[in-house]
Amino acid sequence: MISGSSIVQSLLSGLLEGGNYALYSLGLAFVFGILRIINLAHGEVVVLGGYVAYWTLVRYGVGPVLSMPLAAAAGGALGWLTYRLFLRRVREAPELNTLILTFGVGIFLTNLFLQLWTGDLRSIEVDWLQRPLTLGPIRASVGELAAFGFSVAAVLGLQAFLHRTRAGKAIRVTAIDRDSAALAGIDVERVDRGAFAIGGLLAGIAGPVLGILANVSPGVGGPLTVKAFILTVLAGVGSISGLIAAGMILGVGEALTVTFFSSSYRELFGFTLFLGILLARPSGLFGRRI
């Protein structure tokens, strides 16, 4: 018998988890929306951010909140480097080339992590973040709530950046009409490079959160990319704020699947939702231009 409180608990966990899904997906959704590149190495960049936070904690005792800028910088640098080394050379080639390219970069990174840091699962353990908060039979940890708040802030921050700053406006204009943007004096090549680096930064910043709430290992990059892509499609390409709602739908759906069926069917929910959305409404739930 499934009790009422366990349903409420799984709803809450799902909603909180959904907020984090939005954060994990932000970089991929942003790059896809702006550059029309699906970065299949996205999950690996998140993992890199996680490793940065993990090692700064283990080696130097620096907590994940303080190491977050470092994780973001590592992700941003990796994004910038990927663009400089490879992506700019295949910008004009068919779309699928960039897909295969980033797929290759992802495989490279996964195996590099495996080589450097073994396949062990690393989790970032900090006391104050693990402290449980209870309300009657319902419980959540400080870390879960903080991560949720941070995810929402990151999504809103990105929105504000795109709409309020000169750089953000340049990025949006370039995404909408590349040729006109170039004519208006925007250095579109620089915008591309910058946007891809921002995508990496957004992925890197999600890493410490992943390490706090779950764990970091070379193998989680791929599934993370797939999840980010599912969410991007669900929200609708170009809809950044839609990611939070889409994340919550996925999170709650997964949590309820676990409660009512079995944890082994958890992933099946995401894929079914993904395929259903792709086939029934390819523009996503909140699809519109940025």
Binding site: R89, E95, I100, T110, N111, Q115, V226, S264, E267, F271
Partner: protein, 326 residues
């Protein structure tokens, strides 16, 4: 980038004749060393899957990131047909190919409404679903425990010669070689057919193809069905060759990744290139990468994939093999 010696140009028929001739003689040159033969069998299986993958990608322009799904499906279907339904392994392998076609149509018909990247990732999604099903349908698949004791193909007698697939690596090697020849031959016939011309048109420009009356959806579905048939067939061969299946090995992501590396490396614009690529990368992997890095040797394939697509997108053979003018 031009590969060294790229002045040399041959027709694809010549390249294929040289390649298959060398394959036939290779065991003699290696004096039937079982260790080398087992590596070569793996290379040939990969080669066949790479050629199959390239029927979809090279002929029709549809990249799949989920061929592990068809491979694992074929492996499981054949093992189950042979062990539960009591079919002869040969018949079960053919049955696995048919199962591959059925599932590919189920997947393909809705997914082909999606363009390029969406299709590639939808297939990836389906492959994950198939793996999850193999994990969860315990009564049929044995769940995560897997299936032990998958029987080898029954021995064949031809005159005084006996091909014993249980004991002889050489027999398995030649069977894998014949399968590769079969896949390649089917791909060549397909390219020459009406459907093949339609695929080339869809590859070049989907909208223009639709404009001149090419049935785009049917053309893509045909390419996927052929590709899935042979990938499932090879998965079936693999099951009867290694005698053991579990979801992680049968649906291993490597079965999605390595055919792409092999096909790109060998040259996607040719039909024999992916097979050559598979042999070369398997050799590199066994004799170089795995010795450098025990874990994480796939790192090199990631790098290779990125380097080839940026600097040598036509691959090893792409620039050297003349396409027949049809």
């Amino acid at each position: 980038m031009r590969w060294p010696g790229s002045g040399l140009r041959v027709t694809e028929g010549t390249a294929a004749a040289l390649f298959f001739g060398a394959l036939a003689l290779l065991p003699l040159a290696l004096s039937f060393n079982p260790y080398y033969l087992s590596i070569l069998v793996a290379a040939l299986v990969l080669g066949s899957v790479a050629v199959s993958w390239n029927v979809l990608a090279g002929l029709c322009g549809q990249v799949s990131f989920g061929h592990a799904g068809f491979f694992g499906l074929g492996a499981y279907a054949s093992a189950i047909l042979a062990m539960r339904a009591g079919w002869s392994p040969w018949l079960a392998m053919a049955g696995a190919g048919v199962a591959g076609v059925a599932v590919s149509l189920l997947i393909g018909l809705p997914s082909f409404k999606l363009r390029g990247p969406y299709f590639a990732l939808a297939i990836l999604g389906f492959a994950e679903v198939l793996k999850l099903l193999a994990l969860n349908l315990d009564s049929l698949t044995g769940g995560s425990q897997g299936i032990f004791g998958v029987p080898p193909p029954t021995a064949l007698r031809l005159g005084g010669l006996t091909a014993d697939f249980e004991a002889s690596r050489t027999a398995n090697y030649y069977l894998a070689g014949l399968l590769l020849l079969l896949v390649w031959g089917a791909a060549v016939l397909l390219r020459r057919s009406r459907a093949g011309v339609a695929m080339a048109t869809v590859h070049a420009d989907e909208e223009a193809a639709a404009g001149i009356g090419v049935p785009v959806l049917r053309t893509k579905a045909t390419a996927l069905a052929v590709s899935a048939f042979f990938t499932a067939l090879l998965g079936a061969f693999y099951a009867h060759y290694v005698h053991y299946l579990d979801p992680d090995s049968a649906f291993d992501g490597a079965w999605s990744i390595m055919p792409i590396v092999a096909a790109l490396f060998g040259g996607m614009s040719t039909l024999v290139g992916p097979a050559v690529g598979a042999l070369v990368i398997t050799g590199l992997d066994e004799f170089l990468f795995k010795r450098l890095f025990e874990s994480g040797h796939q790192l090199f394939f990631g790098l290779l994939l990125a380097a080839v697509i940026v600097w040598a997108p036509s691959g090893l053979l792409g620039g050297r093999v003349r396409r027949p003018t049809t």
